[in-house]
Symmetry: D2
Subunit: 344 residues, 4 copies
């Protein structure tokens, strides 16, 4: 297989490369760029010289058409224009940005403050939450790979919503992310001296992942809701932990909640139901494609605490994208993704 | 004034010393210990030799009686025994542990899993949330200095509850703390290689600050509630940020929420109502006695996000203790506490 | 006293403000800017609103002339132009950049790659290494405040060189700094995700502090040498630790080395000779004006390891500048500088 | 192949497991313990349940004899006793501790302050610096895997010494390590709040890697020397960077130094000669088996700065151990070790 990456110099692109390099079915990787054509990739990342010592390629549809799969790991508003002409030319397409996720184009404009992708293309795109949409992913030409926060949130809450064990009408989701989620472009907020030893909140009630989560809850959970969702910046590089709060349905027990999660994922190797709170932490999944989930009922208040943990750059981006590629190509989901969490 | 500190080698004790050293009304500090009598303080903290180059003193009531104020910065279950014999001997007493905070002794036993302090002493203790209890603090002999989390939570939510702008019946509080809150005793969970680059959750629904917050909401907000409250560990040394979520009362506007907070603290120098979300962060209060608070209404869901930010070792412990001491002794609240946040 | 700061929005400027705010002899601070005239200081640093809630002032010599002291905390190449017209107008001048440090103008051009300050002004400037140049500082109009690295290096090695206990001809200095030394301007090298968990080396043999150290060794140690000097970036915000290596003079003992340091600084409150290696660390001086120094002789090789530790923003910049101001104005050196190290 | 690990719950052991899990020639791994027999490995490391969900095995020579290779990743003083009875029973043995590295038993006692391994066994052991000792490693039964610091130092300086381009008689080596090098046992020095934001020095002139480096310089460089060697603790988890300083031989040029390194490693995939100082950093090798090296001549002083960078847990421990295993078993050196550096 030949895999192309557009936007290879961002953190998502680097992670795609890290995994594809050791993916036994991928024999060639091509790195494409819209702005740095001809730049030697290894001049930007000299420590990756062994992996890829060629110039970045110009985005050219004839060239891209020869790849089996093309990933776009670009800022929002880029693949909405770049990808449509590629449809039907051959390659499977996997977009890591938010450009094809929201079926409601007006919603895209509202939350992303950018013009949406063409309606017909968005209609065809398949939401790549692998564990919940495998059948559609298998047949998809264009996959909208989920956002980092939605991945952690949805994998942890969807089974409980689907089985009506929690009341989704007052769902409060408090999300925390490492700073790599902000990408590789320097800014005051990500300047080391100001981000280090600082915990902060951002995009209060305004994160573009809100409509994505709501749409997926509607699609897979069968209920339309408005969530409360906030995002925080943690002084560490990788990792997302989301803490969701909901009233449980009358009569539901803590054991039922846990059993529900366990049953939902028993055939899914990358989602692990954690038993002990002390075993939850972003370092337990770091560098790997795992999503660890956990639920606990507070009998005093009859509310559940539901946790989702991922590496934002892996299961929250490049890892899930490759997992989707594996599904598209009929490979075992774990191919090339069996890296062990670093832990330390 | 002469100030004694019991438990001076813990982080709370070190912070008391840091501030008292530059407190213009305090001319002498004595450091007491229950287990390290005779140890030279500067042998444990050689970089503080200039401040205190004497042996740690044995806890002796005759000696302690000569101090104007005695702070206990000890683990829970210690001052409940140590402090009672000191009552009436002269010194004002300020306890930084949880031993005298809960008026309901059974609740103390349930949450702390230790025997409570004597009932008559607990009855006399005054909860030292300075901005809300100044009159009582002024006359108090024994002050129960608030917990770190309750300080950030209560200062940010109490005005809104008192003025019935939020519905306290589904109050979800998601709290995050730097690792210094775990104290100075090494453990696997605070071992650098495992705590670094790791965001985790702990004591789910089980933190002993839950009944403290509920009691204070009842006392100052006039309503009995059961909160949902979880605590997370952030890979940084200092700082607490709490994110509280509540449905707002019908008709309440975002402006009313902000005005309510502003009015509540206009005469309180250490509580600052923040206007912009981008100005919120634990590094904005680091090393200082400030509590920064913020509220924002999500008109889509009619729910409010309420933020409280403190340095857990200062406003969440030693700083507030000295603020209370100042009130007890009729000094301006800011005496000795005007340190500027480090920021970086 | 009235103190003006040019370049107040940089990290050095913020630290000046942090200390001057609690300096009992300074009743007014004015913040000046060359590029952000009229910007409300508190709009950039909202958490400092209490300290300074006025617009940044335009650099105007009539206005500046009314201050008792003016600090420049600007990038190199700025005060060389800004300061000369102020000479003789009244204020004492303290420059935190390198513009007036090197007496040899050609050397300045070589290492800084910028045009030097006017020769006559440079001649008049006094190198502000307080402990070694107090008499001259007292009478100085213009002080060239030492660089951060030179401060740690010089305070630790000068006594040993002056007393010929080490051979300065093969002096190897390996220096390490926290990232705040790079200033507040975002860049790829200081982007959180790339600076975090990364230890690196920079400016190999090329740091502009090399000629500054050599000049001071000549001036205070009486010997002309060429040093080997490298600088490393440590993933932390504050702190410098320098490790210097030298062959000791024949017959010199470890005790002589320690005694030499002790004698040199016995009347200097900010330089502490550390006895135990385990007491050395940047967190022992963090936020304070201390310089901790240490020496150990390796009898196996007859070489000495000499350590200097400072907070780069305090003793390495703003703190030493205020110490120099105190000397200029006949105040006790410690005025306004008695902050206790944070440690944690 | 079947691989046994003694000391699997330490950081070195975890890394062995991380790599062996994806090593295509290793079909079974057994984890042995001297003190935690019967403990379920996954109860200690629940996030590794998928990898190994069995109890830790008792150290039993009959059981161990059935493995093809046995690694000991134990503290010093353990394998000196555990390994000798295994010699000749079948498995190849690889010791990650210092117990079999020093040929001079008296030196071991002096530096390690423990009784040495039996002389006859030490004589047979082969020093596992793969790039310099491959022929001997191929035939070795017992490999003494190099220490973390010596690996970075030796790979960077040996070619220059061997070719007499630097004068080894005044070799100053300033080494810096992430905190994972201290192992997994909590202590005050590795307690998060005290290690974080702190750069410190330890074991001044006293590190047990000193005689190991000197022995290897003698063995591979053909010259007996006494080095100056100090070690520092960097507030990050992984990574070692060593900065070595030496006078270059008269007439040697910077280009000769670089060419010498390049030629030495042209056939060695894990040692990379770096061209630009800005490409040097511990994050460039993190998680991988690479050793990055660099040299620069300072023409002003005729001294060279020589850099070595590794991940202390990989090339400095588990990675090099597996590289040695590959050599012993006639596999390509890179088998199972092709993980891409994480970078961020």
């Amino acid at each position: 297989m030949k895999a192309g990456i557009i936007g290879a110099t961002g953190y998502g692109g680097l992670e795609l490369l890290r995994f594809l390099h050791n993916h036994k079915e991928v024999e060639e990787v091509g790195l494409f760029t819209s702005s740095e054509e001809g730049t030697l990739f290894s001049s930007k990342f000299p420590h990756l010289t062994d992996l890829y010592n060629k110039p970045l390629l110009k985005i050219d549809y004839d060239a891209l058409a020869k790849y089996d799969v093309v990933f776009a790991s670009t800022p929002s508003g880029v693949s909405s224009t770049l990808f449509p002409p590629l449809i039907g030319l051959g390659p499977k397409l996997i977009d890591l940005s938010g450009d094809f996720r929201l079926k409601n184009l007006a919603s895209y404009e509202t939350w992303y403050k950018k013009p949406p992708a063409p309606e017909k293309i968005v209609e065809k795109s398949v939401y790549g939450l692998t564990e919940w949409n495998e059948a559609a992913i298998k047949k998809a030409v264009l996959i909208a790979n989920p956002g980092c926060y939605p991945t952690a949130v949805l994998l942890s809450i969807l089974p409980l919503i689907k089985h009506r064990l929690i009341d989704p009408n007052f769902l409060v989701i408090d999300a925390k992310s490492g700073i790599s989620g902000a990408g590789n472009k320097p800014s005051q907020a990500t300047h080391y001296s100001e981000a280090n030893e600082n915990f902060s909140i951002y995009k209060i009630n305004e994160h573009q992942h809100i409509p994505e989560i709501e749409q997926a809850v509607s699609m897979f959970g069968g209920v339309d809701i408005n969530i409360t969702f906030n995002t925080h910046l943690v002084p560490m590089t990788r990792g997302i932990l989301t803490t969701s709060y909901a009233q449980v349905t009358e009569g539901a027990t803590g054991k039922q909640l846990i059993d529900c999660l366990t049953a939902a994922y028993e055939d899914h190797p990358f989602v692990r139901v954690i038993q002990e709170a002390s075993s939850i932490g972003t370092n337990r999944v770091k560098g790997s494609n795992y999503c660890d989930i956990y639920v606990k009922l507070d009998e005093r208040t009859n509310r559940a605490t539901i946790i989702g943990v991922i590496d934002n750059l892996v299961k929250g981006a490049a890892g899930q994208a490759i997992q989707n590629m594996n599904v598209q190509f009929g490979l075992p989901q774990q191919t090339g993704l069996q890296l062990v969490p670093y832990f330390i």
